[in-house]
């Protein structure tokens, strides 16, 4: 075979392979969802939705802020119809770029006002609470930190773990910023840099507390519940401490969903939003293995969880969670 022949054959084979794949890429009638929520949960929603309505759904997976930024880069050409996240700052980022279509009242009213932004450009679909998971053999209830601010004080040096590189933690810092202001946040981050054992991922933080390397870890609640329900290997020696008292450490982070203004399938997309905030969609949160909180009206959470209403979380409009400033402060503190 001559080189030219070979090239031609290769080109043809690629073309054939492309066509063999074509059904997966024909995006005409399919609802394209850029998903940063857990894939298992989103897939469960998508399958049940398709079963009920006949509308096919394609999920594209990524992490909160990278997908948000990708949507911003795609702008009006974005192939996405909907965007689902784990935390609010990624929604705010897309919203600030003016890419969300404001949602109609009937869609918004599926969740109570505290679980959606004031401007109504997107909607809450699930929630997670900040917790301090502590090693029960190293700390008693009296030794626990009263506030998140306390963790930046000298007595906590080297005693707790966190994963500041993740979107989860950055949402928490955004809440701290909204509640306490820029200067206090910059100082708290300095304290974090000094005091915390820095790991990558909330699971690693929980594991560090569990194996006694540190006394506790500042994470979201569902990592602990998920581990307990699963292998138990990173949580069996830890308990959860909820800060309460409207402390920044009691922050409840809202997972969101928004409709892209550039979408060609707005009716189906709204249908999907109604579905996931409605009885069936929220039941997936209650009954599944995600251990995230439900936010739909009259939709109780998984009975294993401490009810949201009892957490005494601080009041923040999620539209205020400003990721840009957070990143700026974290870079200044050499955390990123």
């Amino acid at each position: 075979m001559s080189p030219l022949h070979f090239l031609l054959t290769l080109g043809l084979s690629v073309a054939v392979a492309t066509m063999a794949h074509a059904p997966a890429w024909a995006q005409d009638e399919r609802l394209v969802i850029y998903n940063a929520q857990h894939e298992t949960l989103a897939q469960e929603w998508a399958s049940a939705f398709t079963e009920q309505t006949g509308i096919p759904v394609i999920l594209r997976q990524g992490a909160d802020l990278e997908v948000a930024n990708q949507i911003v880069q795609e702008g009006a050409n974005s192939p996405a119809d909907l965007f689902l996240t784990e935390n609010s700052p990624a929604m705010v980022l897309v919203d600030n770029a003016g890419l969300f279509e404001p949602l109609p009242a009937d869609v918004l009213e599926a969740v109570p006002p505290q679980y959606r932004p004031g401007n109504g450009h997107w909607i809450g679909i699930a929630a997670r609470s900040t917790v301090f998971a502590y090693n029960a053999s190293r700390l008693t209830k009296n030794d626990l930190p009263k506030t998140m601010a306390e963790l930046a004080e000298p007595q906590w040096q080297g005693r707790w773990a966190a994963s500041p590189s993740g979107a989860d933690f950055q949402a928490l810092v955004a809440a701290y910023l909204a509640l306490e202001g820029e200067e206090a946040t910059a100082q708290w981050l300095e304290g974090l840099k000094r005091n915390a054992v820095i790991v990558r991922g909330n699971r690693a933080a929980l594991a560090a507390a569990n194996n006694g390397e540190v006394d506790g870890a500042l994470i979201y609640h569902y990592y602990w519940f998920g581990d307990r329900a699963g292998t138990d290997e990173n949580s069996n020696k830890t308990e959860l401490h909820y800060f309460g008292h409207e402390d920044p450490g009691a922050f409840v982070s809202l997972s969101g969903a928004g409709l892209l203004a550039s979408s060609q399938h707005k009716q189906s997309a709204l249908e999907f939003l109604r579905f996931i905030t409605g009885a069936k969609g929220q039941a997936a949160l209650r009954e599944g293995q995600s251990f995230e909180y439900t936010v739909g009206l009259d939709q109780p959470a998984n009975p294993a969880l401490v009810p949201l209403a009892e957490l005494d979380a601080p009041q923040i409009d999620p539209a205020q969670l400003d990721n840009r400033k957070v990143i700026e402060l974290m870079i200044a503190a050499d955390l990123l």
């Binding site: 794949h21 857990h38 990524g62 880069q73």
Partner: protein, 518 residues
């Protein structure tokens, strides 16, 4: 006619040469896209931002970390590769064949599986030494494979002559044997160095920050921000330093053997009383490289039971991974051939510059390459955004170094005289190369393609960003489940990645094994 002067002609105008040069230049231009992108971001963000983002404490820390990692892991890898290859090829070590397989096998284990396995076996093991250990365990085969192959092919006559002239065996090793391994050591060492710079998955859980981990952190927080790209720029500089070092050390001596007769296998040294301690050490070593990942994957599988084998999802991911790896590997090997040929047959300044453009991308984390292609596709060639061709191009850029190293070594062993004879017998220039060198280098090319396919089968970031909607490779599913902490459900995907990689590793090993001494 076959005349002496035309046989010995070393350079001069040749159409085949010009064509290959043009092709190599095109590949080099494509490879420069990520660098151009990084420079453009730097210019676009202004000098002040560059100063603020580059000249800061964090970057200094990262430089120190990367230097320490390279400075420790690379020499350890080099020394270990030579030691292990010598044991297998030149001593009477029992079960040599088996050991040789076991030393290559870690190639089939994806880097992040190593990482998860170690964090689960030794959760308290962190920092520089943890990073060095997992790097050595994961990347040693990149060096062992070429070094062992080269050692086997060496003509023992040189060593025997040195011995007969009164050199002690240890002197013979350092003054005769080791210098002849130079090409293999340089090529493999460069590959390991590039991977150490670009690797993210291996270091996720070791709490050791390198440029690659910092870039990925930045990317996940701010995506296409100046910080991530400027860190990428610094990484390119580090990489060029590495390339200059390699080019300086490599030299351009001749390594092919011509003449009547053939090289015979070298004499084996007796281990004697050392045999048992050596065996113990090797068992321990293989326990670390293979035992630890096997233990962790096995535990996950057992916890998951039968429920985790969702065959519909697994089958789809397997099929897509195989297709992408296959086409990506073909494309990359083909693209690397012109430069590999030029670097052996026509080394020059221009050629070295073009070659460096082929290599440097290997030191960049996939994120930077993918970001550049996403940006270009979104802005200028929208129909190719999130399409297979763009994804294959990204794979090609990321894995060119893997293809080049293998091709170079096998072309270097094909005598140039054959090409000239074919040309002088009237073959068109490209066909002359095709029928002689390429044919002789074919097993090496297959091995290069296998090495690329291995990389693609485990690649994640680029695939996540560039693949068409609906694509789910094995690596994507593994990542998705582990980020939900569902390790049991992730396990089948990791096992399949290993299973898929095994035939490629067998191919690599057989190629190295079966190549006759030339």
């Amino acid at each position: 006619m076959l005349t002496a002067p035309s046989l010995l002609r070393r350079s001069g105008p040749s159409r085949g040469h010009a064509l290959l040069l043009a092709f190599a230049a095109m590949v080099a231009l494509l490879s420069l896209l990520p660098l151009a992108f990084v420079l453009w971001i730097a210019l676009d963000s202004g000098w002040e931002t560059v100063v603020a983002m580059v000249f800061r404490r964090k970057v200094a820390d990262l430089l120190i970390n990367s230097a320490l990692l390279l400075g420790l892991a690379l020499p350890i890898c080099l020394a270990l590769a030579v030691a292990l290859a010598f044991l297998v090829e030149r001593t009477d070590l029992p079960l040599r064949k088996l050991w040789s397989w076991l030393f290559v096998a870690p190639l089939a284990v994806p880097a992040f599986v190593h990482s998860y396995a170690w964090s689960s076996v030794a959760p308290g093991f962190h920092g520089l030494w943890a990073a060095v250990l997992v790097s050595v365990l994961a990347y040693l085969p990149f060096l062992y494979l070429p070094v062992a192959a080269q050692l086997r092919r060496l003509d023992p006559v040189l060593e025997e002559t040195a011995g007969a002239l009164g050199r002690a065996p240890i002197q013979v090793f350092f003054s005769v044997t080791l210098p002849q391994l130079r090409l293999a050591l340089c090529g493999g060492g460069l590959l390991v160095g590039l991977h150490l710079l670009a690797e993210y998955g291996l270091f996720v859980l070791t709490r050791f920050d390198t440029f690659a981990t910092a870039i990925v952190d930045q990317f996940q927080a701010v995506y296409n921000g100046p910080a991530a790209n400027l860190l990428g720029g610094v990484l390119v500089l580090v990489c060029f330093a590495l390339l200059l070092l390699e080019i300086a050390l490599r030299g351009d001596e001749r390594y092919a053997r011509v003449g009547s007769g053939a090289a015979r296998p070298g004499r084996r040294h007796r281990l004697g009383r050392l045999a048992w301690p050596v065996l113990f050490l090797l068992i321990g070593f293989v326990g670390l490289t293979l035992g630890v990942p096997a233990l962790t994957l096995g535990r996950w599988l057992i916890q998951g039971g039968a429920g985790i084998w969702r065959l519909d999802m697994i089958g789809e991911a397997l099929w897509q991974t195989i297709l992408l790896a296959l086409f990506g590997a073909l494309l990359t090997t083909l693209a690397a051939f012109p430069m590999a040929w030029l670097s052996i047959r026509r080394p020059s300044r221009l050629q070295k510059l073009l070659e460096a453009s082929h290599y440097y991308v290997g030191a960049l984390p996939g994120v930077i390459v993918a970001l550049a292609l996403v940006t270009i596709a979104v802005r200028f060639i929208q129909p190719l955004y999130q399409s297979v061709p763009t994804l294959l191009l990204a794979y090609m850029l990321m894995f060119l170094p893997r293809a080049l190293v293998g091709l170079r070594a096998s072309i270097a062993q094909a005598p140039v005289e054959l090409e000239r004879v074919a040309a002088n017998l009237g073959r068109p220039p490209l066909l002359a190369i095709w029928h002689t060198t390429l044919r002789l280098a074919a097993p090496g090319a297959a091995a290069s393609a296998a090495l690329v396919a291995l990389g693609i089968a485990n690649e994640l970031t680029g695939t996540l960003m560039l693949a068409p909607n609906g694509t789910r490779t094995l690596a994507m599913r593994f990542w998705s489940y582990t980020s939900e902490l569902n390790f049991a459900a992730a396990a089948p995907y990791a096992v399949l990645m290993v299973a898929l990689s095994l035939p490629l590793v067998v191919l690599l090993r057989l190629e190295a094994d079966g190549r006759p001494a030339r």
